[in-house]
């Protein structure tokens, strides 16, 4: 016997001959109905012996339970039990009363002596002693590893007889532990009555008792639940299950995983394992995560059992369930990936394995998707900000054009997007337009400079405008680290410039996959021209073929406007290089020069000066007009016309933009054109006369 089960003799003796209560620990938990259920947990050593015995018994072909038994059988589950009965017009559910307690020592011993086991007297006795409680009752304990198997084997003849009855009544039959289920498309009540009658009689003759209160006949018009799984429209779990999963994930995302460990995951009376665990030990994050993953996996096994994966469009409900499962699984994966809490890394591997089994989720893990997610999360983060919510809430409360105008003026003080914004006459459309703009962040000079600077920082976007070999995957990693989180904060034209360039990396990715090695970006047929265009449009005064020359550009603009050569003096002696958005700045210079040429008196000249001040570069366009302006001038930005409003918008985020002028009282005044604020006199340009437009860039 010991040799057959391969159980160490010392262990066997220790556990088998041990007497008293130490063999089992008694525990009471709640059933789903709220009634108590007594569980007997075997001691560690006894558990090992029972498991070894179970493993040996289960592999012997003739010792296997009937095909209709789905409970505690390898490869079968409550889902396989339920699938058999889907799309049936009548479902008949019956329940065996006190299933485990009705199997006692004598029956177990007899079973092991009979076919198919045919153990000897002593061996059968030992097996029964090993499996049953050693108290007066001597019944099969709920909680013993061997108990479900023995119960299944005990029911072999019952299963066989019930299969025959089912066949004679044109029914399908399954049994999951003590849950007996028949299903048929024959709606006749007499057929069902006969079936129940015959079944009850067989059950009783097999030594079990039918729990008559639990015998139910289910029609398609009501919720057909078999072993906890709903089978009305494909296989499904109940809504509360999914809602609770989502809620738990949401709470974990919002408040951290640790905050959820002590909470009851499901709001029903069932004692879920974390609660059971909590009563014995301290709650553990690993235990919680494994439990949650188990719940998600169970939901997956249910929705995927509908076999709608390939032909999923045929039943959109079933397809939606698969999508829901995939979303939940992916959220769980993301939660583990982004969580700062420490947990067993094996859990993440297990989850990743599940994710990788779903082709759609696998593609979600792609580097391109990660880049998109990073961008999306930056946008969502902005939308979650109190300030954003507050502005949107204020906008909602606005009921007339006058209040809306005032609201826009206030917005324009901090956000040049709203400065002299042109809105249609329709109030609601105007509100919608403002709402749309408010859902995206204002341009940030810091973030814009950060992205531009990364074009010459070793680990930044520089790698993507250089000739060194690089994989497509690494390109996206660089985009993720240097660009995606800032993209919504860039000036729109600069953003479009980068987006157009990046779309060529997308082309390369779609064509060749993310492991494709780009030998030399500057020679790659897809990337060469767009990369060079980006360089020319983001750099002044670098190498001649891959940057724009500011001096030449200004000469071009002067000619275009038609200002006489003797009225303009270019003071750009040194080729000071800087990163910006060349088309936006060129357009701004054009508008400023155009405006200056019209407003500068004929005897005065226009100067264009470029100089370096510490780490900053200042471009000043000024005239030598000696005519002072009225003292009230430059107290706000109201004097700006369409041209200067464009300059404000185009330079927003790329540089500081000030206007400086001399007044009648002899003072010089500077106005910050991006926010309308006055600038301290200490920031004066050093000019003692004339009207000046000053653009200050970061080097």
């Amino acid at each position: 016997m010991i040799a057959f089960f391969d159980i160490p003799e010392s262990l066997f003796n220790l556990a088998y001959w041990k007497k008293g209560q130490d063999k089992y620990k008694e525990l009471t938990i709640n059933k789903a109905t709220g009634k108590p259920r007594t569980i007997h947990i075997p001691s560690k050593k006894l558990k090992i012996i029972q498991r070894l015995a179970l493993e040996k018994l289960q592999v012997v072909e003739k010792f296997k339970p009937s095909k209709n038994a789905h409970g505690f059988t390898p490869g079968k589950s409550i889902v396989t039990n339920a699938i058999v009965h889907r799309r049936s017009k009548r479902i008949i559910k019956m329940d065996l009363k006190d299933f485990f307690p009705s199997i006692h020592f004598g029956r177990v011993r007899g079973m092991f002596m009979a076919y198919p086991f045919e153990f000897g007297n002593k061996a059968a006795t030992i097996m029964a002693q090993l499996a049953c409680l050693d108290d007066k009752s001597g019944v099969l304990p709920q909680g013993g590893p061997l108990s479900p198997y023995i119960a299944n084997m005990m029911c072999r003849r019952l299963d066989k007889r019930l299969t025959e009855v089912a066949r004679s009544h044109r029914c399908y039959f399954t049994r999951y532990a003590d849950d007996i289920t028949f299903s048929t498309n024959d709606k006749s009540q007499s057929n069902i009555d006969d079936l129940i009658k015959e079944t009850s009689s067989i059950i009783e003759s097999e030594g079990f008792v039918v729990n008559k209160d639990k015998t139910k006949i289910l029609t398609p018009e009501e919720r057909q639940v078999v072993t906890g799984v709903i089978i009305n429209d494909g296989i499904n779990v109940n809504r509360r299950y999914v809602r609770n999963l989502r809620a738990t994930l949401r709470n974990c995302e919002k408040y951290g995983i640790n905050s959820q460990i002590n909470k009851k995951i499901y709001r029903d009376n069932r004692a879920s394992r974390p609660n059971l665990h909590r009563s014995l030990h301290h709650p553990s994050i690993d235990y919680f995560l494994r439990h949650l993953f188990g719940k998600i996996n169970f939901y997956g096994s249910v929705v995927l059992s509908n076999n709608q994966d390939q032909k999923n469009r045929e039943n959109s409900n079933l397809f939606k369930r698969i999508q829901t499962y995939e979303n939940i699984l992916y959220r769980f994966y993301e939660l583990l990936k982004t969580s700062k809490e420490e947990f067993d890394p094996k859990i993440e591997k297990l989850v990743k394995r599940s994710v990788s089994k779903r082709p759609k989720l696998l593609s979600k893990l792609s580097i391109q998707h990660q880049a998109n997610e990073k961008r999306k999360s930056a946008r969502d983060k902005f939308r979650d900000l109190v300030g954003t919510q507050d502005r949107l809430a204020k906008l909602d409360l606005i009921e007339n054009q006058h209040t809306l105008d005032f609201f826009i003026v206030e917005l324009a003080k901090t956000d040049p997007r709203f400065f002299k914004i042109k809105l249609g006459a329709d109030f609601e459309n105007a509100k919608e337009n403002i709402r749309e703009k408010l859902s995206f962040p204002a341009v940030s000079q810091d973030k814009t400079i950060k992205v531009l600077k990364s074009l010459f920082v070793e680990d930044g976007l520089k790698k993507l405008v250089h000739s060194d070999p690089i994989s497509v995957k690494d390109c996206y990693r660089i985009f993720c680290d240097n660009y995606e989180a800032e993209v919504y904060y860039l000036p729109v034209l600069l953003k479009n410039e980068f987006e157009e360039w990046k779309s060529n990396f997308d082309k390369l990715l779609n064509k060749n996959g993310d492991s494709y090695e780009i030998e030399n970006i500057l020679e790659n047929s897809t990337l060469r021209d767009p990369t060079n265009k980006l360089k020319i449009n983001t750099r002044f005064n670098g190498s001649p073929s891959s940057s724009s020359n500011l001096k030449e550009k200004i000469k071009e603009l002067v000619n275009k406007i038609g200002i006489e050569d003797n009225r303009v003096e270019l003071q750009i002696d040194k080729p000071i290089g800087f990163y910006t958005h060349v088309p936006s700045i060129s357009r701004s210079i054009y508008k400023v020069l155009d405006s200056m040429s019209k407003h500068t008196d004929e005897g005065s000249k226009i100067f264009i000066n470029l100089k370096k001040i510490d780490e900053k570069i200042e471009l000043i366009i000024f005239n030598d007009s000696k005519m002072p302006l009225h003292d009230d001038f430059l107290s706000n930005r109201d004097f700006t016309n369409g041209k200067l409003s464009d300059v404000i918008r185009h330079t927003n985020g790329l540089c500081n933009y000030w206007i400086e002028a001399g007044l009648e009282n002899g003072d010089r005044k500077i106005l910050n054109m991006h926010n309308g604020g006055m600038v301290l006199n200490t920031d004066l340009s050093g000019l003692s006369f004339g009207f000046a437009h000053r653009f200050r860039f970061e080097k």
């Binding site: 000739s467 500057l522 060469r528 670098g542 190498s543 073929s545 002696d573 040194k574």
Partner: protein
């Protein structure tokens, strides 16, 4: 260029490439070129050593921020910038040469470049 020996300041923060370029220049004509290879350079060293040619990696901070912007006085030295980010093999603008890093990775190219620069 009338001198027989030409002082070349080579600046490159990439140590391997610095040594490689140094060797390649020496291979061209070791008696003619006297190379001073530097990982980085400060204003004093740059302005006080009377270099004839400055071959500088554009990715070095001091090269991009000070030499290219004309903040430091080159004392009439011919300036050649090289970088992996330059598209064209070599081009000249306002007496400054711009060459790609891959171009000066070959001995014959360095030879051609220095000859062309020295002719002037």
């Amino acid at each position: 260029m009338t001198k027989n020996n030409l002082n070349i300041l080579l600046i490159d923060k990439n140590r391997d490439r610095l040594h490689r370029t140094n060797s390649l220049i020496k291979c061209c004509d070791s008696s003619r070129y006297c190379v001073d290879p530097q990982l980085k350079v400060d204003q004093e060293a740059y302005e006080s050593n009377n270099y004839d040619i400055v071959l500088a990696h554009y990715g070095n901070k001091e090269v991009e921020q000070s030499i290219a912007d004309g903040d430091w006085d080159s004392g009439g030295a011919i300036i050649i910038f090289f970088s992996g980010g330059f598209d064209k093999d070599k081009e000249k603008f306002n007496d400054v040469w711009w060459v790609s890093a891959s171009y000066i990775d070959k001995k014959e190219n360095i030879y051609t470049l220095l000859n062309e620069v020295c002719k002037k």
